[in-house]
């Protein structure tokens, strides 16, 4: 054996403070962002924003974006992009609406079929990226246009010339699955709360907030599920490894190709889920659905701590990134500011987040 026995404590290592450890979490930037934005609106916005109703108001768009952002963040951690997300929402929306309106299928058939269809398109994206070795940025940029165009063409075919397909609401009204994808959950509970006087009611006694919009529940469940997978399953380790260094990962026995293709499929399914929720909610679908959502989803993921180069990030971060988005887009309506400041804010936030994340990464890896 070697001559020296290994020492148990290295005198060169300082004890880390709790704050220093916290500083290394990828989602820290997004949480700090939520705090800042909350303070900003507490100072400037009407107090109605921070009532229960206001909360549901800003969480609804946050949740809709968040469903996409969580998929996008998983894919980014896995080292790839999907710019076709927004177009995928339109395309899956068309497929779903055509199922229920043109073919008259029940949701029991239409929803699995739509998810399966989206997964297939995601798999095609992934296969092309992996087989050609082209950057996913280029391949999915192509699909951004291809899917958007197909949605337009398909809509005209399905409707006989219009770019809007109506009649979804009537088709799904009495379907037992509708409640899982639209409207408010826990309505009975909220009525009870109103009766006990714990939440605000209208004059006739019905609660002002009827329940939790289902998309918020989907958003929370997906964020928790994605976080569990990332941090507590072998698959999560494979996602980080594939994004960190695909070559090193496959040398160590990680099935990198399978991981990446699965991630493309999951991301496309997130887009399809959002499409289903939005189409049932609106009762129709059109070709502009999901327009530019891919950028917003990627921005939310980046604010949430995902590195553009992959291998680092968190789903909880994307959750808060999307929350910031919702707070700003709705919060501005509670203030005296012009709402169009929103885009300025979004761009600024992105820039700050990337700078902040680079700093964090340097702390984690100890780059000097």
């Amino acid at each position: 054996m070697s001559t020296t026995e290994p020492v148990m404590v290295d005198e060169r290592i300082k004890q880390e403070t709790f704050i220093a450890q916290l500083m290394k979490r990828p989602e820290l930037g997004a949480i700090a962002g939520v705090v800042l934005v909350t303070i900003f609106f507490l100072l400037t916005a009407d107090e109605a924003m921070f009532t229960l109703q206001g909360f549901m108001n800003f969480m609804t768009p946050a949740a809709q974006l968040g469903i996409l952002a969580i998929g996008a963040s998983l894919l980014m951690i896995g080292g790839e992009f999907d710019l076709s997300l927004g177009s995928m929402v339109a395309f899956a929306g068309l497929f779903f609406a055509a199922c229920v309106v043109n073919f008259g299928t029940s949701l029991f058939v239409a929803i699995p079929a739509t998810l399966l269809f989206a997964a297939l398109v995601g798999a095609v994206n992934g296969q092309i990226v992996l087989r050609t070795g082209l950057p996913s940025f280029i391949v999915t940029l192509a699909f951004l246009f291809i899917l958007r165009g197909l949605s337009l063409v398909g809509l005209k075919l399905a409707t006989g010339g219009s770019t809007q397909l109506r009649g979804v609401r009537q088709a799904v009204e009495n379907d037992p699955l509708t409640g899982f994808f639209s409207g408010d959950a826990f309505a009975g509970f909220f009525v009870r709360l109103a009766e006990m006087g714990w939440i605000d009611t209208f004059k006739n006694g019905t609660p002002k907030v009827k329940g939790v919009p289902v998309e918020i529940l989907w958003f929370v469940v997906l964020a928790l599920l994605a976080t569990y997978i990332l941090l507590r399953t072998p698959a999560g380790n494979w996602i980080f490894a594939s994004g960190g260094d695909a070559n090193a990962a496959s040398n160590s026995g990680v099935p990198v190709r399978k991981v990446k293709i699965a991630l493309f499929m999951v991301t496309a399914c997130c887009a399809a889920l959002l499409a289903i929720i939005q189409v049932i909610d609106a009762g129709s679908t059109d070709a502009r659905r999901g327009f530019q959502k891919e950028f917003e989803a990627i921005i939310a993921a980046v604010i949430g701590g995902c590195l553009l180069t992959g291998g680092y990030g968190s789903a909880i971060g994307a959750f808060f990134g999307a929350t910031i988005f919702g707070m700003v887009v709705i919060g501005l309506t509670y203030t005296n500011f012009d709402q169009d400041w929103f885009q300025v804010f979004l761009g600024g936030m992105l820039l700050l987040a990337v700078l902040f994340n680079n700093m964090i990464r340097k702390r984690v890896t100890g780059e000097r």
Binding site: T233, N247, V364
Partner: protein, 259 residues
């Protein structure tokens, strides 16, 4: 002499019309460090890639524990017990040491849908294995990026040993390291050898080879120039063999004997 774990017999490898290996024989026994030396282009890399299943030999036999082996992929060789630590290390700087250690072979607990990554067990094993190698981590979640080059080598070696390597191939593990880190890695090689693992140590630094090697094989232009035991060869002879003797002697005199 004990029986070799792996015996490579008259291995030939041709790439198109290039003969990279022209009949190289090589073996490793348990608990020895067999150094493979050679200058750039001698065929060292091709040879270890053949041994670790990346390339298939054009001709020749690979006998692993007396059985004829035909590796189709690095995965096959890994499963048989041949672990290779490449220069690029197969490590991901942004991930923690534990996650790197178990990358692709994560321990799990629970069943079915509840089957999950057993983070506690993984951390404990990783801390323990690293301590055995003389590295005290700040914590199991310390990122690999914060480790020095020598420490990274040690993580990669510890990982291979933990996962049951019988033959450990090290591809120039000391080439990019400083003096102190080099001695750490050489000490690690010594520890691994004492555990009864056959080590194949590829290097072009004669001094590093002589520090830990039991036997030395020199490759030149796809052929072996012979194998020598420790004590049967002087550093100068080894150096000359590696560089093809004659030319280096001339070069050396023109440089004043400093190489």
């Amino acid at each position: 002499m004990t029986k070799p774990i792996i015996h490579m017999d008259k291995i030939e490898k041709h790439f198109g019309n290039v003969i990279a290996l022209a009949g190289v024989s090589f073996d490793v026994t348990a608990g020895e460090c067999h150094c493979l030396l050679g200058d750039n282009g001698a065929g060292k890399s091709t040879f270890i890639k053949t041994m670790s299943g990346v390339h298939k030999p054009t001709a020749g036999d690979i006998l692993f524990e007396d059985k004829h082996m035909d590796f189709d992929s690095p995965r096959d060789a890994m499963e048989a017990g041949i672990a290779t630590v490449y220069q690029d290390l197969a490590m991901i700087p942004l991930m923690s040491v534990t996650r790197n250690f178990f990358m692709g072979r994560e321990p799990t607990k629970g069943r079915g849908l509840l089957k999950r990554f057993d983070a506690e067990t993984a951390s404990d094993i990783c801390m323990e294995e690293m301590r055995k190698m003389g590295i005290n981590l700040r914590g199991p979640d310390q990122a690999v990026g914060t480790l020095s080059g020598g420490e990274r080598q040690t993580v990669a070696i510890a990982r291979a040993v933990y996962f049951g390597a019988k033959v450990l191939i090290l591809d120039e593990p000391t080439s990019a390291l400083g003096v102190r880190q080099t001695s750490n890695v050489l000490a690690t090689i010594d520890r691994v050898r004492d555990q009864g693992i056959g080590v194949v140590f590829i290097t072009h630094n004669v001094r590093h080879a002589l520090a830990v090697g039991d036997r030395f094989t020199v490759l030149n232009r796809g052929k072996t120039l012979g194998t020598a035991k420790k004590g049967d060869i002087t550093p100068d002879e080894l150096q000359d063999l590696m560089a093809g003797g004659q030319e280096l002697a001339e070069l050396e005199s023109s440089l004043g004997g400093t190489i």
